[in-house]
Amino acid sequence: MEAEVDKLELMFQKADSDLDYIQYRLEYEIKTNHPDSAGEKNAVTILKELSAIKSRYQALSARFKPISIEQKENQNRICATLSKTMTMIQELQKQTDLELTLLTEEEKAVTEQLK
């Protein structure tokens, strides 16, 4: 059994290296037949650039998603804290018979905005 498994493993390794060699030879042939020139890149180079920008896009997308979620959470937390604080201040002003400080137009506008 053990021998069979080793044999199978060797076959996979052989296939793997064969595939690498085939790819290498093809790329080498294309680069040789159509070397990159100043204005023109060959198809292999472009193919590599395409896969590079795909992986760069995936990396940036994976980085962006959690940040935007965290921003939303922070904003919600700030809103909750702000409204609690403002409510409490108004209650305190009532309790101490202090004159309620009215919100300025600007403050009203941003309160609406934050709501």
Partner: protein
């Protein structure tokens, strides 16, 4: 489609940035 996806994500990112910037300004007004 990759170009479209990147463009869509870029637009989304810009929107989130604008919203956060506005939010921070508004909060600072109330904190004064």
């Amino acid at each position: 489609t990759l170009k479209g996806d990147v463009n869509t994500l870029l637009d989304e990112a810009r929107l989130v940035s604008q919203e956060s910037t506005r939010f921070i300004k508004a909060t600072k007004v109330l904190m004064k």
